[in-house]
């Protein structure tokens, strides 16, 4: 299921007699470990980067300096704005369509059977391979890029949502039936709440894929946004400047995932066990 439940899973045993209950970390300790891992990585990068030619690796301090410059000259905000438009439109449309079709397919065997092969076929096809045809149909600009992101996003959301609807506890459906629930009430009381964790898992996957989709779209259609910044800086061997949009992408992923987790926690309060 989703990450929220797996966090409570037991550790695998390392051999006979070695089983020990996993100790829960305190929130403060967990944050300290999170920040410590980032600090160690940055420090190692800094030290190793100083030893090499700056074209090969650069270093965190150089990246920060380059980033400040790119904010000052407006190139980073402009590129970020371009990418964010593509990202948000692609992600929103992909999630909306994926959830809608997923819910319907989860409830209708007929629709599920109709969709199964085409969905699996297109899901398995690398979206990059479709870019020439997307360009033919939608041009090189924002529309085509949104379509690329949409294709990256829609399938994991659709597939997870369908599964979520399928996994509704049959006993709860029986409960709803004995109390003479209408189909509409069944969606509200039963189907949506039990599909929600699966939808969230789908969206979590979709966020990562959407970020890939944005950069792929920006590379392979008209160069723009963060993808353009990466490509241009790399072509002119400005490695520190090249890392700035990459770090921004990584931060975007972290922020969006954190946002999703926050929304999920608010929606599935019922899953919390007594303290």
């Amino acid at each position: 299921m989703s990450a929220a439940t797996s966090r409570f899973s037991r550790p695998a045993s390392g051999g006979p007699g070695s089983w020990r209950p996993r100790r829960r970390l305190t929130p403060a300790r967990r944050w300290a470990l999170r920040l410590a891992s980032v600090a160690v990585l940055l420090l190692a990068w800094e030290i190793y980067g100083q030893l090499l030619n700056p074209i090969l690796l650069s270093s965190p301090t150089a990246v920060v300096a380059a980033g400040a410059g790119m904010i000052a000259d407006g190139s980073l905000p402009q590129a970020l704005a371009e990418s964010l438009i593509v990202l948000s439109l692609g992600l929103a449309s992909g999630v909306a369509v994926g959830v809608t079709i997923g819910l319907l397919a989860g409830r209708s065997e007929t629709l599920a059977a109709l969709l199964e092969l085409p969905v699996n076929a297109v899901y398995a096809t690398p979206a990059v391979a479709l870019i020439p045809i997307i360009v033919l149909w939608f041009g090189f600009e924002v529309t085509a890029k949104v379509v690329v992101v949409f294709l990256f996003v829609v399938f994991p959301v659709l597939i997870n949502t369908t599964r979520g609807v399928r996994e509704v506890d049959p006993e709860l459906i029986e409960v709803a039936r004995t109390f003479c629930s209408s189909e509409r009430r069944m969606w509200k009381d039963l189907i949506l709440p039990s599909a929600l964790p699966y939808i969230v898992t789908g969206v979590r996957l979709a966020i990562g894929r959407a970020l890939i989709g944005v950069i792929v779209a920006e590379y392979y259609t008209a160069l723009s946004g963060l993808g353009f910044l990466i490509a241009r800086s790399a072509n002119s061997f400005q490695t520190a400047r090249m890392f700035v949009p990459i770090v921004v992408l990584a931060l975007l992923g972290v922020v969006l995932t954190a946002l999703l987790e926050w929304v999920e926690r608010r929606l599935v309060r019922w899953r919390e066990t007594p303290s």
Binding site: E171, L172, E174, V175, A176, R177, T178, F179, C180, S181, S182, R185, D189, L190, P193, S194, V268, R269, W270, R271, E272, T273, P274
Partner: protein
């Protein structure tokens, strides 16, 4: 009523008004199928189910069911679970009942909790309160106490007895594989044997009410009653004179 030939065969059963009827039988004997058919959840291959003269073809608001594995909505609070039946049936005006039932089942203090925070016994109290909230003409109980520990089970049996004896005395049909539970609760016990399930034995329980589990087990007629039922389960093709 008649079920599909494979599961239930030539079962004719009448539950009288305000009667507490227990159906017992071994696992796989078709007793749960019988209950689900009466609830309108399963269609009959031939034969029919009727409730106070009206045929039951689909679930009706006049029956309510208590489920073996509680069947609570994990994302609804205790209070929302108890009020669920009234809400889906559009009977919001009767929601005042919910608080009375929460009190009756000692659930008031956990009314804002979610099912995951409750013990098995508490969960089944919620399940019972939810079924009683719609004030059904027929209460169906599908092995309601089999998923809780023995001590809780006995406490729940006594609570249900008290509630049922002191209040409305609604018509109730309880399916169980526990002979002692059946004797304690029932006005009449029907033994289903199978497959295919058929009624192999029927026994009125005339032990005095109000009852509680301890007193009933100490009653002089208890061992005899228990042995009769036990024998009927062991040799389920023996047809006894009580059979209708």
């Amino acid at each position: 009523m008649l079920g599909g030939a494979l599961i239930l065969d030539r079962v004719s059963l009448t539950v009288f008004e305000r009667e507490f009827l227990c159906v017992i039988g071994t696992s796989g004997g078709g007793k749960t199928t019988l209950l689900r058919t009466i609830a309108g959840l399963l269609p009959t291959a031939s034969g029919s189910v009727s409730l106070a003269g009206t045929p039951v073809l689909a679930p009706t608001p006049r029956t309510a069911m208590v489920f073996q594995h509680f069947g609570l909505f994990p994302w609804k609070t205790v209070r929302a679970n108890v009020g669920y039946g009234l809400r889906v049936q559009g009977r919001q005006e009767a929601l005042g009942r919910v608080q009375r039932l929460l009190d009756a089942f000692h659930l008031s203090e956990v009314a804002g909790h979610y099912p995951a925070q409750l013990s098995g016994g508490m969960k089944q109290r919620v399940g019972m309160a939810r079924a009683l909230a719609v004030e059904p003409e027929l209460l169906l109980l599908d092995e309601p106490f089999s998923s809780v520990d023995a001590i809780t089970r006995e406490a729940l049996q006594n609570e249900v007895l008290q509630l049922w004896e002191r209040t409305q005395r609604m018509t109730a049909l309880l399916v169980t594989h526990d002979i002692d539970e059946a004797i304690v609760m029932a006005d009449r016990i029907v033994v289903i044997s199978g497959p295919p399930g058929h009624i192999s034995f029927e026994l009125p329980i005339t032990l005095p009410r109000p009852r509680n589990t301890q007193e009933i087990r100490a009653h002089e007629d208890y061992p005899k009653t228990r042995k009769l039922l036990w024998d009927s389960l062991e040799h389920h093709d023996v047809r006894l004179p009580e059979l209708t």
